[in-house]
Subunit: 338 residues, 2 copies
DNA sequence: AATTTACTTGTTACCGGTAACGCTGTCAAT
DNA sequence: ATTGACAGCGTTACCGGTAACAAGTAAATT
């Protein structure tokens, strides 16, 4: 059985409170006492019981992180940054992988809320369904949305500018001379909508008509990009350039193209989004849009910890943080070397 | 304030215990009562306080996972498998990233042990320093080692056969006609030792002398592989084939080779280990050794949960699980297409 | 009818901490 | 000498659950 405060107190003939105060660096403790307590605590190998502490203080020093795909280096990088930031502030991080499933996400979120002090969520929930999260926020849960936003939610949200990101890619294709630019859309979440919006804006701005037949859904996984592209090739009438929902989808699309013996970028140009790890080392280095994922994670962690540790609702309560997106030109788009 | 058992009990005019028993599916509850309790619980949006429960039962339903590099798809895949397995058994997973730093690993492990029911560790601690973990085990901590083993520790360990894996790669190079096969070694952990051992065994078995000058340390990160290879090229007298500590290191080495305008595999053949995600899509697809990481994670989670949930020390207490390694031949080794 | 048995519910204490308040003793100010 | 302030430490109650035991009631047995 591990040592408790009471054990130390008994050993020294003082009260539990004295020991507790010492452990928590309370000022009203005599240096001599402090010394004696700390010595015995160390000697008895004392470690505070976090559950008891959490029960008492209603503070677990635990953050929850909910991501749709831990295997995607994008979220792994975010997770790593959050973990580092949290640890520095004395928090641990509980990670939950949802595989883009909104239903299981909501179930997990409910479970996590009751053992953590707050959650950082990259949500798979449709942005026009803020109901569940609105209720949680009303009940006082501390939430921060990361990567994907949900409108009308009074909580901090940390994202990139996905409209700009989508426009960046589309514009780049236009400048390279493409006129039939296709878009593989993600699922029904903000980033997919925004990237699609950016795509349309760029087309319009450059005098190109938006053509519905050039947009297909593919989700955010490689498998989705692969099957969407394969079907498109089978159906015929495919575009000369593909802007995919994200890098895994782009890689899936390129796999379908390779199988069809089509050359990227000569036959079809491809670009993704999110700057996956090793995207530069692929057989056809992937043109994409990058933004500072570490910053994303760091900001989210900071905001959440701020929400937790400040009593009054500060102006951070529904702060929006936007990290700027940046076009990364590599070979898959067919641009001459930069 | 969230609803508690007492709130529900008061609402219904029953005791807390009746509510508690209902929530925990205790059999001795009248169906009518159960129904009434559950209805009110749902209506009042009740969620059990996990800290209180943990304090009472000394069971947190939380597992800790300690990995050296979350950005490495290898560990992300393991983490994902563990998380799925744990969730299915009613556990959540707390993830800690150590960046291969043994000191911070031990610090974190201490902290995690007091809020989890047990840990799964891919340890960066040297295998001949089992002291810290031996003490924890003696104190009754539930530990399972994954990926990397530490000898003489009475806890389950789940790994692949790294000696065989190292031999597989080395033998493959030998069969391709290489005589000067170099090895980039990882850090001072079991897998690095074992892969090195397999390398030496294969050399000896095929009548090749082990040459110390053909082995250099590079750690387990891409950066280490890069700088080790770059230095080697600068120093001259490099081998015709490189067996790297793991896939990131192999990728780093290939980057150094590319910078030196050397062709892989024509000028130097390369192989890694661990089958990183997208290793097949690199500009030079990476020859590597693969094993079932999902199985690795699943087994580790099962064993840990077994340790936690069974009272007596079962024979699982120091079970070894070995998943078989398998050579994956791609282009970086220079073999003709398979 | 008396006793046993099974089923259902309640009581009490405790898990290991912490908050809030109270008590004692010392020392400076009046 | 009295008072007040303050430092240092203790008491009590409570956080929200659960284990262990007790007890009441209805059905079954003798």
């Amino acid at each position: 059985m591990p040592t408790t405060l009471a054990d130390i107190a008994a050993e020294l003939g003082v009260s539990k409170m004295t020991v507790s105060r010492t452990i928590n660096n309370h000022p009203a403790i005599h240096p001599n006492t402090r010394e004696r307590v700390l010595t015995v605590a160390r000697h008895m190998n004392y470690r505070p019981n976090q559950h008891a502490r959490a029960l008492s203080t209603n503070r677990a020093h635990l953050l929850g992180l909910v991501v749709p795909d831990l295997m995607h280096s994008y979220y792994a990088e975010i997770a790593k940054a959050i973990e580092a930031e949290a640890r520095a502030a004395g928090y641990e991080v509980l990670i939950c992988n949802t595989e883009e499933d909104a239903a299981s996400e909501l179930r997990e979120v409910e479970a996590l809320l009751h053992r953590t002090d707050g959650l950082i969520i990259a949500s798979a929930v449709a942005p026009n369904q803020p109901g569940a999260y609105r209720r949680l926020l009303r009940e006082g849960s501390k939430l921060v949305l990361i990567d994907r936003s949900i409108e009308g939610l009074k909580c901090p949200q940390v994202t990139t500018d996905n409209v700009a990101a989508g426009a960046l890619v589309t514009e780049h294709f236009i400048k390279l001379g493409h006129r039939r630019i296709g878009h593989l859309r993600g699922t029904n979440v903000s980033v997919a909508h925004d990237r699609w919006e950016g795509y349309r804006q760029a087309l319009t701005q450059h005098g190109l008509a938006y053509d519905e037949t050039l947009v297909r859904a593919c989700g955010f996984f490689e498998s989705g990009g692969y099957s969407a592209m394969r079907d498109w090739l089978k159906d015929g009438n495919h575009p000369t350039a593909i802007f995919a929902a994200n890098d895994p989808a782009a890689i899936g699309a390129m796999r379908a193209l390779a199988e069809a013996k089509l050359n990227v970028p000569r036959d079809i140009a491809v670009a993704g989004m999110g700057a996956i790890h090793y995207g530069d080392l692929l057989s056809v280095p992937l043109t994409t849009v990058d933004w500072d994922k570490t910053e994303l994670g760091r900001q989210a962690a900071k905001l959440l910890i701020g929400l937790i540790e400040t009593k009054e609702q500060k102006r951070d309560a529904d702060r929006r943080v936007i990290v700027p997106p940046q076009l990364v030109i590599r070979q898959s788009c067919g641009a001459k070397a930069t």
